[in-house]
Amino acid sequence: MLRKLMKHEFRATGRIMLPLFLILLVTSVGANFSTRGLLETDNKFLDVLGVLLVMAFAIAIVGVCVMSMVVMVQRFYKNLLQDEGYVMMTLPVSVHQHIWSKLIVSAVWFALTLVVVCLACFIMAFDVGFVHQIAAGFRELFQEICRNLSAYYAINGTAVIVEFLVMCFVGCCAMCLQFYAALAIGHSRPNHKMAWSVLSFFAIQFIMQFLGGMGIVLLDESWFHHLLLGWTDNISGMASVHLGMVAMILGEVVVGAIFYVLTTWFLKKRLNLE
């Protein structure tokens, strides 16, 4: 059932995101024309057109990034907590499957947004003089790295990249779940559901920051901190990077899990569709 939920979720979100991606790629071609010559002509019309094309490209990048966030929040809100909720919440699927389908699909759109923005930037910079020089510089840097690359750096470098990607994925999920939890809490109220949702979001934010701050203060004087200080002489820089990344991933997993439990509990026990 999760697969089917995701299929329909992709269908519902794709009709918004795919045209936006297309618009971004088209504006990147326009921006490429602009940087390759339109901005440097003596013709006023072409000059203005060049500026407009670059502006359209910048707006499209911002628009796509903002819309991927808006779609993530709006799908949860409209699909589960508004009128469509009557159909969705009476499907023979569990609340967990609903949340996972929304989470996975949102994470995929975030990743695709990143890929398409990078692609659009490449298109914009294609065959542009100064970008060639930057690219050549990167190429030299890469070749230099390859010449001096040892197995130690290759393995650790790959591990750090993987850890970074995992951290981004878990972070995306935790961020989505914070919105979901706030909406689920707010919509359990009989009135002013959206106002309660916004309030819940900031209350959650405040509590997390407060607990985080308290945690750091308490850890500062704890045995754990002394244990870490004891390690500093025996642990390499690379190992401490891995340790830090794993700690951040675990921290995000814990935060995400708290939001997940809150969201499922409110959707199961306190669902209050109007």
């Binding site: 329909h8 469509e84 009557y86 919440m89 009476t90 699927v93």
Partner: protein, 231 residues
């Protein structure tokens, strides 16, 4: 075995009691009218049966199971408002129902769409309010469910369409299943009902077969309703 059973069911919204100590059961093969004035607790009861609300106390079971994922597979629910995704076309909506419900009869749904001249490729958003309600009823009644919970199925449509909807309900429900129709438009639905449950201010005030009402009280359900709920 009762398809739907309530035992001392109570639902409160804060300090407001929507249902209080409600007990009744509905057997298979019956078409039951859940009748009451506005705000009597009909929709709350149907939402509880669909797991959209949680009871404050008491118990509600569908085929001996509490509302949840398993009961959703055997209950076909028509909400009081249009809740099908408006961005879909009618065909996409049929795909959606076919994906999630094993008992969905696509051929029956397509036949009803064609009979009502509803274009399958048109987006639901572009349809009139009445047509949207028809589409929603078609997908609900195209399931071979064990319990149909229809909340105000004829509330927003013209009298001619009401007749079509009622004949659709009669013609398409599984004879082994129970149908619960919540409405206050009693004269329209009376002819299809086997049984009625009168509900007022969160209490069940009467559960009786339609034949008993006619024979023992010598009046129609509509007349009895007007007498019981006289303002």
């Amino acid at each position: 075995m009762a398809v739907l059973e309530c035992k001392n069911l109570t639902k409160q919204y804060g300090h407001v009691t929507a249902l209080e100590d409600v007990s009744f059961s509905i057997e298979p093969g019956r078409i039951v009218g859940l009748l009451g004035p506005n705000g009597s607790g009909k929709t709350t009861l149907i939402k509880l049966a669909n797991g959209l609300l949680t009871p404050t106390s008491g118990e509600l079971t569908i085929c001996n199971a509490a509302p949840g994922k398993e009961t959703h597979a055997i209950v076909s629910y028509l909400p009081e408002r249009t809740s099908i995704p408006l961005w879909m076309t009618a065909t996409q909506l049929l795909d959606f129902y076919q994906d999630f419900y094993k008992d969905f009869r696509r051929d029956a749904a397509e036949e009803m769409l064609a009979h009502l001249n509803i274009p399958a490729k048109q987006r639901i958003k572009q349809m009139s309010k009445g047509t949207r309600e028809k589409v929603q009823l078609i997908v609900t009644m195209s399931r071979a469910a064990q319990l149909y919970l229809l909340d105000e199925p004829i509330g927003g449509v013209d009298p001619a369409t009401r007749d079509y909807i009622l004949s659709t309900i009669i013609g398409n429900y599984n004879p082994e299943a129970a149908v619960v129709i919540s409405t206050h438009l009693i004269s329209d639905v009376e002819k299809v009902l086997d049984e009625v449950i009168f509900i007022n201010q969160g209490h069940v005030v009467l559960q009786s077969s339609v034949d008993e009402i006619r024979e023992e009280k010598g009046m129609s359900v509509d007349a009895l309703f007007r007498e019981v709920f006289k303002c």
